[in-house]
């Protein structure tokens, strides 16, 4: 089994790197006890869940099994958790209401998407990646990030963005989802288990930027000091 892992890591270093890099922000949150803050707690849950899913997918991928089902199921959960962080950072109640509404709609939509792309659910071997959900997720997340940036610029409450953790976290998400936005629609075709449509190194872009975003998260968490958030 370990051999499988090792050979997979060597074959696919770009894909394996973010799996293990997940641990960096997780450990940082733990060390700094940042989970006392609600926003960081969600990030913590999100990262742990992501780490778990990544590990399972990594395990399945290294055994050359179809891991797409987990990926599909993870999408709505991932969306709810990431946008939940923004729930604490949006200043206006109306915006929060829209955010919560988007959870319901998105979960419903992605459920429909999974069923729609996989008419025969029992056939795990041929399970396909969802068609629209990832793109929609990216679009929604980009929207919330932009909204947050817009609010920040308008309100002018944060004197130094470079020491403000959520700015880093937000930038991480922004880069990640920007890289995913155009690739996501073709992932569906690229990852069909039997008939690969080779999109070559393009497939790596989201993974590479996942690594970047994880690093940005870590920088952001490193800026966390209990008092700066207590304000």
């Amino acid at each position: 089994m370990l051999e499988n892992y090792c050979s997979y890591i060597i074959r696919q270093p770009v894909i394996s790197a973010p799996v293990f890099l997940n641990l960096l922000p997780i450990l940082l949150i733990w060390r700094k006890r940042a989970y006392n803050d609600k926003m960081f707690f969600i990030l913590f849950v999100y990262l742990i869940l992501k780490f778990g899913v990544d590990l399972v997918m990594f395990d399945l991928a290294s055994q050359r099994k179809n891991s797409v089902l987990y990926y599909n199921l993870n999408i709505p959960v991932r969306y709810v958790l990431t946008s939940w962080m923004f729930y604490y950072k949006l200043d206006y109640n109306a915006q929060r209401k829209w955010l919560m509404l988007s959870w319901i709609l998105f979960v419903a939509f992605s459920a429909w998407d999974i069923i729609h792309t996989n008419p025969s659910m029992g056939d795990l071997y041929n399970h396909k990646m969802v068609l629209y959900s990832t793109t929609l997720e990216s679009l929604l997340m980009l929207f919330w990030i932009m909204l947050y940036f817009y609010n920040t610029m308008r309100a002018l409450k944060i004197p130094n963005l470079l020491t403000y953790p959520f700015f880093w976290i937000c930038s991480g998400f922004l880069l990640y989802y920007s890289s995913l936005l155009f690739i996501a629609p073709v992932l569906h075709y690229a990852s069909k288990w039997d008939q690969w449509m080779d999109i070559g190194s393009l497939d790596y872009i989201p993974y590479a930027f996942e690594t970047v975003s994880l690093l940005l998260f870590s920088i952001g968490i490193a800026q966390y000091t209990g008092s700066s958030y207590a304000k």
Partner: protein, 287 residues
């Protein structure tokens, strides 16, 4: 296969464009934020300076107004009184010649009233413009002030300083210290019902400290500020200090009474000669 390659290229370009845009957005947010904050800071600095200038002008015009009043009192009323005194003297000779007892006593009374009025006017003009301060400096001015007070009240006022020769300071600074001292002592007399007031003037390389302590009833400056009791006095002290970067601190010594300490950074008098004593002296027109 051809279209596949094209699709790949298109995707690559789109993704790179998107990423560049994301990067640009992050940079823009940071830049914009920084810019706005700098601007905000500049504006608040300007506002602060402006307020300070307003205060400065207000206090300056108060001083010049005092000067003008003193000048008018001295020149107009003072001269009139002197002339009146002269006339009365002449009249008194006539009255003495007539030898009427009653007329003579009325004459004497008028004369002494005029004398007294002249003294009063002189005292008022001196109070309005601290001439001693401008000519001889802080120590002499404070000593004179104390001396006058001790005459009319049965109070013990002690004055100490940590130097024999108190170096002359800028005119504004000396006046500020003098007015603060005046207000603090006046407060002690007015409110504290004390029997003893200590004034201490200390100077070192950087700071001048003025401490006024009384042994009266004492007060809590925080409460006074909250309860709208503060008159113009304590507020005036603070605004005067704000102009010269000074601070004031009130204490309640354990043995009762109250103590106020004002601290101001030193600002030695510059070489140029002091402003003329009466800058607003009007040209006398002789018709």
């Amino acid at each position: 296969m051809q279209s596949n390659e094209e699709l790949k290229l298109g995707l690559l370009i789109a993704s790179i464009a998107m990423l560049m845009m994301a990067f640009f957005v992050i940079m823009f947010v940071m830049y914009y934020q920084k810019k706005r904050f700098e601007e905000e800071k500049r504006i608040s600095d300007i506002e602060k300076n402006y307020n300070r200038m307003l205060l400065d002008t207000a206090l300056n015009s108060e001083e010049t107004e005092r000067r003008r009043i003193a000048q008018d009192l001295h020149d107009d009323i003072g001269t009139m009184l002197s002339l009146t005194k002269l006339s009365l003297n002449q009249l008194s000779k006539l009255v003495a010649n007539s030898g009427d007892e009653k007329e003579e006593s009325i004459m004497k009374k008028s004369q002494s009233l005029v004398e007294e009025t002249i003294l009063h006017v002189r005292r008022i003009t001196r109070d309005l413009v601290p001439t001693t301060l401008e000519r001889f400096g802080l120590m002499e001015a404070i000593e004179e002030f104390i001396h006058k007070l001790e005459e009319d009240n049965n109070l013990v006022i002690a004055f100490q300083s940590n130097t024999e020769e108190f170096p002359r300071q800028g005119q504004k600074l000396e006046l500020t210290l003098y007015r603060i001292m005046q207000e603090l002592v006046n407060n002690a007399i007015k409110h504290a019902s004390c029997t003893k007031i200590d004034i201490v003037l200390e100077i070192d390389e950087e700071m001048i400290g003025l401490r006024v302590t009384d042994n009266g009833v004492g007060f809590d400056p925080e409460k006074i500020k909250e309860s709208n009791l503060a008159g113009l006095g304590l507020l005036g002290i603070e605004s005067r200090l704000a102009i010269v970067n000074g601070t004031v601190q009130y204490e309640q010594p354990a043995k009762g009474g109250s103590s106020a300490i004002a601290r101001i950074p030193v600002n030695p008098a510059s070489g140029n000669k002091p402003e003329p004593l009466h800058p607003f002296r009007r040209e006398r027109v002789n018709i």
